[in-house]
Amino acid sequence: MGDKFVGTPKKASVHVNQNEDLIFEKSSPGKKAYRLSELDVPAVDAAALLGDAVRTDLGVMPELSEIEIVRHFTRLSTWNYAIDLGMFPLGSCTMKYNGRVNELVARLEGLAEAHPYQPESLSQGVLEIMQVLSDSLLDITGMDSITLQPAAGAHGEFTGILLVRAYHESKGNPRKKILIPDSAHGTNPATAAVVGYQVQNLKSNAEGMVDLAELEKLVDEDTAALMLTNPSTIGVFESEIHKIADILHAKGALLYMDGANMNALVGKVRPGDFGVDVMHLNLHKTFSTPHGGGGPGSGPVACKKILEPFLPTPVLATKNDGTLTLDYNRPQSVGRVRAWYGNFGMFIRALAYILANGPDGLRQTTEDAVLNANYLRAKLEDVFDLPFKTASMHEVVFSDKLQAKNGVKTGDMGKRLLDYGFHAYTVSFPLIVAGAMMIEPTESESREELDLLIDALRQIAREAEENPELVKTAPHTTRLRRLDETTAARKPILRWKAPAASTPLTPDTAAKEW
């Protein structure tokens, strides 16, 4: 690496890892990694049973032995960065530690093998898990009712806005528009559109917060709801949240809260107490279910009593004899948003997290998350521009303003962090900050790990002054250097094809690799 590092990165060093082809390139006819159990019923003639519908060829499906498969996926795994290797300072993503006991209990036979249609009398255990989790989430949010059905955060938003729409429809008018701050996550406007609402943009004020005067002007009888993230995407608590709620409620509109930043509030503040009518939670953020390289998530939706009649079917209920049941008789329901009851495996993990923490642990967790973000802010604000000086909660947003003078952008510094053994922070979001660098450490980071990140970022700030090219061409030490995303999008190759028959999706793409 020679002079590529100005200093020595303390967290990481370059090491050899294994090359590995695509699984199809490793396949040879006749190899097997399975043996079926002996068939204990008479064999059948598939062609006779299925007639024309019988399949004879499985194309390029791979043929390998077990050891080759283990090595294949283990080698691939070593090319990933992960929470288990170090910090993910990804703002808004809440990449916290995923307790391993959660994985163990999720695999217990009576839970992992519970069939969604098995009789209720044989499902009391799974229903109790849903009940205890629901009760816990309701107290954490200060809301009245909840559905666990949505499969992820965006799916929760969809469900929440469906409730809003059903509520207004029950009053005779679904209304037309949803207000969304310009600092919002992209799923918010996309969700409003899916539920048939127009999106009205709400400009933030000079502090990056909701502009009350602007809000007052925009809210009218056509406004169905405001979708608000609190703390906002710049990591600041909307101190005037009660006024925001009042302005909406005065015109009959509802307050929806995106729970992406709930990790700043658990055990300290409850959205239900500050005027929120409906909100979603991300179990894969706040409640530590693993992110898994992009899911599965889980996005429960909690609401106030006025929205309870509209919750998706079925709803968990208790029968007179004290047993739990699923209630399908919900005439005002918005309907189902997903088959069955949601990502149940994530409910187990989230409840295991709550049990491991208890009320004291959850409060301490929130306090540590906020402490960590403020510590990073204090240690970095002299080298990076801080566009909003308002007090930070669980995340802090800097900008690349100082480094951009030398041509070094937020994306470059994010890439340079990879060289120092970290994942990048969130780059270029929220959109209201030019060149945003959004950092959320979570409670899972020790002071030592935070100090390593501080060292790395300070070093990068210095490099941006002294050797901007070094930063602009980062990363230098990863398996692969920057990837050509433009060509990937212009001439998409979305699947492997056998060399002899290789015809890329777009005719002018030569399949040189094969």
Partner: protein
């Protein structure tokens, strides 16, 4: 608290560095009247051993040690040990969506392999990197067809999973997508082709069918495609039992396949997480929802993979995106990839075992009544019309620790109280089938 890596003195030192007197200073922006001054009302802090005991107690209140003949969209199949070996690796389990491809090639290459295998099995040209599940995948496919065709209506077979249809109703209502349901032929349990033909109008964007359908019957996909295409509508085929793809001809005549890949190594797990997927003809690429992994090169010309065509997605397009989906089912897609790698071409052998078990079960258990819809081929499920009500039959079976078929009257009132949907897979033993038949005799 054992997950928190700070000593009390760390906290004090950090507060001092920040210039705060106490942690409360950091919450000063929260108006005092909204600060919670009591403990949360959640279970007390548990030790690790206690957490495990707690969940073991939950698990014991469920069906343990029962033979089960339930399928209906959630299928019990053997899960090779390698699946959990791979997905338990922290590098996969605790990684993020691969937005930084230089340090996420493991996830990206696996997704590319997933997409390739899904294409190969379904006969489609491209596949996305997963959707939430089969039900939402089918609904998203319908919305995709509306965008592609510029038409509005959806014609849906009643033999599509009833819960998938319910989800579609929820999604379609605010997109102004009128939905028409088409009945099945009572002799075959397949879509009634004449009624289908009559239901398609000039404004029909798509026909949605499921094959094998909810009754386990394999639809005549080619004939349905011809009817749909003749009127300019797209054909969407939903697949709930993915193992069928090992032995049943793929729906190559379809324009879009919206499948549930749960059968490929994902636990039934009380309904989720599962793994939806949308695969389609290449020409619909720009209207595809969800993430896509694509091949490219790095600065040195080395092959690598990235998430691509994100201009379709919500974080770029906001309210004009093809879908609001963000987090999907990446780790579950990895389970599917490992499963498909272990079985590979041998998926055919596995599917054949399923066929044999279901055939034996239909013959044996069917002896207690009548197996409906005999006029068409089926995969691993069958509809039994018994001599007594399905509820009564199941109650008798439960006494022998057998969970019988799913009573169908709730979804198909016309089939009456005596019909139920039975499923057998490679995990179902001859002894279990014989025991169930004995009870029903």
């Amino acid at each position: 608290m054992r997950y928190l890596p700070k000593s009390p003195s760390d906290r004090e030192a950090m507060l001092a560095d920040i210039g705060a007197k106490s942690i409360d200073d950091l919450f000063a922006t929260v108006p005092a009247e909204y600060r919670l001054t009591r403990d949360l009302n959640v279970p007390r802090q548990h030790g690790e051993q206690e957490v495990i005991e707690h969940f073991k107690a939950f698990a014991e209140k469920n069906a343990l040690g029962y033979a089960s003949f339930l399928g209906a969209g959630a299928y019990r199949h053997y899960r090779p040990v390698l699946i959990d070996t791979v997905v338990s690796r922290g590098e996969f389990l605790t990684s993020y969506t691969p937005y930084q491809p230089e340090i996420a090639q493991g996830t990206l290459q696996a997704l590319f392999e997933f997409q390739t295998m899904i294409c190969e099995l379904t006969g489609m040209e491209i596949s996305n990197a997963s959707m939430y599940d089969g039900s939402t995948g089918a609904a998203e496919a319908v919305m995709m067809a509306v965008r592609v065709t510029g038409r509005n209506g959806a014609v849906v077979a009643r033999t599509v999973h009833p819960e998938y249809r319910e989800v579609l109703t929820t999604y379609a209502q605010h997109q102004s997508i009128p939905k028409t349901e088409v009945d099945y032929d009572p002799a075959t349990g397949r879509v009634d082709l004449a009624k289908l033909d009559a239901a398609i109008t000039d404004d029909t964007a798509c026909v949605l069918i499921q094959s094998p359908n909810f009754f386990g019957t394999i639809e005549d996909v080619a004939a349905i495609a011809e009817i749909a295409h003749k009127k300019g509508a797209l054909l969407i085929v939903s697949i709930a039992e993915a193992i069928s793809l090992g032995i049943v001809k793929p729906p190559v005549e379809a324009d879009i396949v919206a499948m549930e890949a749960q059968s490929f190594g994902v636990p039934v797990g009380y309904g989720g997480p599962y793994c939806g997927v949308i695969a389609c003809k290449e020409k619909f690429l720009r209207q595809m929802p969800g993430r896509l992994a694509g091949e490219t090169k790095d600065l040195d010309g080395k092959r690598g993979f990235v998430l691509t065509l994100s201009t379709r997605e919500q974080h770029i397009r906001r309210e004009k995106a093809t879908s609001n989906i963000c987090t999907n089912q990446s780790l579950v897609a990895l389970m599917v990839t490992v499963f498909l790698t272990v079985y590979g071409k041998g998926l055919k052998d596995l599917a054949e075992q399923n066929l044999a078990k279901a055939h034996y079960a239909a013959q044996t258990i069917g002896g207690s009544g009548k197996v409906l819809f005999g006029g068409a081929p089926r995969f691993n499920e069958f509809v039994l019309q018994g001599s007594k009500t399905a509820e009564a039959a199941n109650a008798a079976l439960l006494e022998k620790k057998i969970v019988g078929g799913l009573p169908l009257e709730r979804f198909y009132p016309e089939l009456g109280p005596n019909t139920s949907l039975w499923c057998a897979t490679e995990l179902t033993t001859r002894a279990q089938i014989d025991a169930a038949a004995e009870v029903l005799k």
